[in-house]
Amino acid sequence: MPSELAPWAAMGVIATITFLNRIAGPFIMSRLRTSARVERFLDAMSVSVIVALISSALARGTIREVVAVGASALAMLWFNNAIVALIAGTSAAALWLKFLA
């Protein structure tokens, strides 16, 4: 393969595999009989995915990320507004880097 084509071939593979991953979940579910148990599985799993994404980001990060996530969660509980919570989180991270890191 000419070397100028290699990046495009790789990109084609990356895009195709990513697309197949995206359509796989609903495809698998369309072959399964849904029951209350499957519904409970999907419910608990959808919460778990988000928790897993947060936990591994925090485990890879520093105290700064923990402070930021804590600030957004508290702001969310207090004001019940996602934008306020995001501003609280990013400000906490920015301030932490400026003054404490």
């Binding site: 369309s30 608990a44 928790v51």
Partner: protein, 254 residues
């Protein structure tokens, strides 16, 4: 013996009841432009913060030897931060297509899980519309539309629109990063790098109110952290989500 037969009978009865309730609760969904616009509005605030991530990818891609056109094309057709950053490891000589494919499958396998969690709604769409919408599946629009659907939303446009605005800002950010590069400075100073994890935290805060969600959340967090260094990139998320899901599926089963 009698006991186990009784149990089997009960389980069968449960399945029958479940099926009838499922059919009753199966609300027909649609996909409209209006819904897509609503989805775009819902995720407009968060997608502003996707721009710096796109910039980061643009800069990294140029450093790894991609051309500006290749960097932007990759963001446009792949639209996955995790996959794209991971794929840069194969540059500047991306020739091992099989290993690229395997790594991409591993990194994006969580889409199988988030896609499955949206299947109740997405599978009611005709197949091409469903696949088109799923091309824009990402973590933020999964998180947002799954809670919207559970709150009674019937327009899959909310999911698609959320994905579209994230896609626009991701591609736009990549263009900026690929062209302007290092001149843009360090975005960590503004705390932009934590915005995605903060968004997930705000989304989960309200979902954890029912006590039944707390235990799977703890299980998931514990497994995600414990397996972070043991499993290949991204698979700790899968292990944690499946474990949390299994707990949810069987907690009420007596």
């Amino acid at each position: 013996m009698v006991d186990s037969q009784g149990k089997i009978f009960l389980t069968l009865a449960m399945v029958r009841i479940d099926d009838s309730t499922n059919q009753k609760e199966m609300v027909p969904v649609a996909l409209s432009v209006k819904g897509a616009l609503r989805g775009m509005m819902r995720l407009a605030p968060i997608s502003v913060f996707v721009v710096p991530f796109g910039v980061g990818f643009g800069i990294a891609a140029i450093e790894q030897g991609l051309t500006v056109v290749q960097a932007v094309a990759m963001s446009a057709v792949v639209f996955s931060g995790a996959a794209q950053f991971a794929s840069l490891e194969f540059w500047p000589e991306p020739v091992g297509l099989t290993s690229i494919a395997l790594v991409m499958f591993a990194v994006n396998a969580r889409f199988i899980i988030t896609g499955a969690a949206l299947s109740t709604w997405l599978n009611q769409l005709p197949i091409l519309t469903r696949w088109f919408s799923l091309s824009f599946l990402s973590d933020p629009n999964f998180v947002d539309s799954r809670s919207a659907f559970q709150a009674g939303e019937k327009d899959v446009g909310v999911f698609l629109g959320g994905g579209l605005i994230l896609w626009l800002t991701w591609v736009g950010g990549t263009v900026l990063g690929a062209l302007a590069g290092e001149n843009l400075g360090d975005l960590k100073v503004y705390g932009f790098d934590v915005v995605m994890v903060c968004f997930f935290a705000t989304a989960i805060t309200s979902r954890l109110k029912p006590l039944s969600a707390v235990v799977p959340a703890f299980i998931s967090a514990a497994i995600a952290i414990a397996t972070l260094d043991l499993l290949p990139l991204g698979w700790n998320i899968i292990a944690a989500s499946v474990a949390g899901g299994m707990w949810g599926a069987y907690q009420n089963a007596v």
